[in-house]
Point group: C4
Chain length 193, copies 4
Amino acid sequence: MKAAFAELIRNLHAKGWSPATSTNYSFIDEHQQCWVSRSGVHKGVFSEQDFMTIDNTGIGTGMFHGTKPSDETQIHLWIYNNFPEAKVILHSHGKYPVLISQFNEDFFPVQGYELQKGFKGCKSHLDSIEIPIIDNQQDMTVLCQALDVKKLAIQHHCFIIAGHGTYAWGADLFEAQRHLETLDYLCECEFLL
Amino acid sequence: MKAAFAELIRNLHAKGWSPATSTNYSFIDEHQQCWVSRSGVHKGVFSEQDFMTIDNTGIGTGMFHGTKPSDETQIHLWIYNNFPEAKVILHSHGKYPVLISQFNEDFFPVQGYELQKGFKGCKSHLDSIEIPIIDNQQDMTVLCQALDVKKLAIQHHCFIIAGHGTYAWGADLFEAQRHLETLDYLCECEFLL
Amino acid sequence: MKAAFAELIRNLHAKGWSPATSTNYSFIDEHQQCWVSRSGVHKGVFSEQDFMTIDNTGIGTGMFHGTKPSDETQIHLWIYNNFPEAKVILHSHGKYPVLISQFNEDFFPVQGYELQKGFKGCKSHLDSIEIPIIDNQQDMTVLCQALDVKKLAIQHHCFIIAGHGTYAWGADLFEAQRHLETLDYLCECEFLL
Amino acid sequence: MKAAFAELIRNLHAKGWSPATSTNYSFIDEHQQCWVSRSGVHKGVFSEQDFMTIDNTGIGTGMFHGTKPSDETQIHLWIYNNFPEAKVILHSHGKYPVLISQFNEDFFPVQGYELQKGFKGCKSHLDSIEIPIIDNQQDMTVLCQALDVKKLAIQHHCFIIAGHGTYAWGADLFEAQRHLETLDYLCECEFLL
């Protein structure tokens, strides 16, 4: 799992979705242990050794005891707590969702694309979909409160943080990647239009 | 053949033409057996084992007996039935044809490009070419009826499904790829203009 | 030389500069023998075996006796005859020069870019440069006559054929590549503006 | 260090940030020796042998005695003299900063992006950042005088030269790359808007 995830992270970097040392990633293993990507590692050289274990408050455990992961780990924990089906979370800085958030305030509306069926549960290009957009915050507690308010609107396993990037998740690596790629593609098409 | 086709599928994915688990592919082998790409496989890791045999109603046969491929297999069968020269079919979600379909309703008109000679039978950049655009449908029977209506207008070995993607085919892998790349390039140029 | 050239051709294809089976390439070896890329080979798999020898009328010689290369070989011969410093010629279908030719009729004007110094002989970003644009023709004799008329205006080792692509050349592979990349970059910047 | 730096240079080339033979790179090793990339090497094949030692006037030393590196070496020396924390300098011709410099004269203003935190010292997306833009010059003495004038405004470890490209630096390879990628991403987002 860690090897496959590290390879995916390197591939997402190759697409330009994690410039600088931005973005972070996590998963829950078969023992319900949460692993997150370590802070400050360049995603182009991310390896399976770059995941660390955390407890349910977001503090490093075991051989990572005392190590602090990225502040945004709080967002990962919020997602796992509120969407129990989530076992893998991907955070991307792909530029199209960031650009879309400059034109839309509360949510990104999509309709008419076959690819929206990439979101689990969406069955037709005719469905009207809304992807919530959350205001960016440096204070993760405030950001998670904003997520609490919009929780019911998060129906497609992903959301956008304005001027920042996207979070997408799934029951496994494959589904999380599918949701992320679906959201990015739809943002790119709508932005180019 | 299967190895070369699987490599092409991975290359098309690397171009961003099959985001999420979208797109599907098929070919007819030298024994007139039809093979289609299995459903739900991520195209970035597609291998020659990911093709399955089907009968002429689109149901899995042999060791794939009972397995159901993608619903869009019906479109592949429609193409093989109506264009006997087709032996390889490529379906792509490249974004430029999708974007073009937002500006054109019935067909995509092209003229003045040297590259349009990439379509078999087209001899000059001065030819006026029209690539049919079909409305998207979730019901494949309805979609194939729409194809029946436009059949005579399909003169360049490809068509666009609005908001969805393209189908392109040829007598071999090489020709099908040429038709697909030609259509995508022309859509990109016209969209950027 | 042939191995290095074949690798460059595959790299140019990876950039999307030779969609379908478009584009062609040539060089003159140390015995003054002219070699051209064989017709119809997909550039993504071009190998050193895919070059053929031709005589000075553009007909295959030696083991390629009687084989006819692409019609555009006449353009290569025109360049070698008129620009004796040319030993390597690259023809690209990169989309930005094609798009630029929709906005400019006779020439593409450039000024103010540091990168224009990539053209041999250009010493400053303040120089005003003009890259000739030639009307596209299917009849190579007519196209070469148009080149004759514009010959004096071809001062930067390259020209654009409208709706078609670019030709760029140099005293070696390295210089020809530099001229091609310079032209494409300048076309992209000006088009995006 | 040289091997890792050469690999980074090839990766930056693969992104299209060093077309033709443009761009140059340098670092200061643990003995305070300055190394610069040799002039005229294509960045797609840059190797660790392509760095040369220079003295503090920019002239080759040791086995490179008498070899002259690129004129722009003067800009590297200016940066090392004025920003002592700089140990690695990257110069890029990525097109977005070049395009941004056509719309902004004195500086490129940024605000509202999470990724601006990629600049060391920037703590919030709410910070208002200004990246200085310097007029391009062929005379490096004149260019460095313009840099002297703007020195206090250079607060984010990078600047843009109009119509030319960017310089970014850091205490190590990793930080310099982070600053370069951050600047390019912000320029791309703002240009696309």
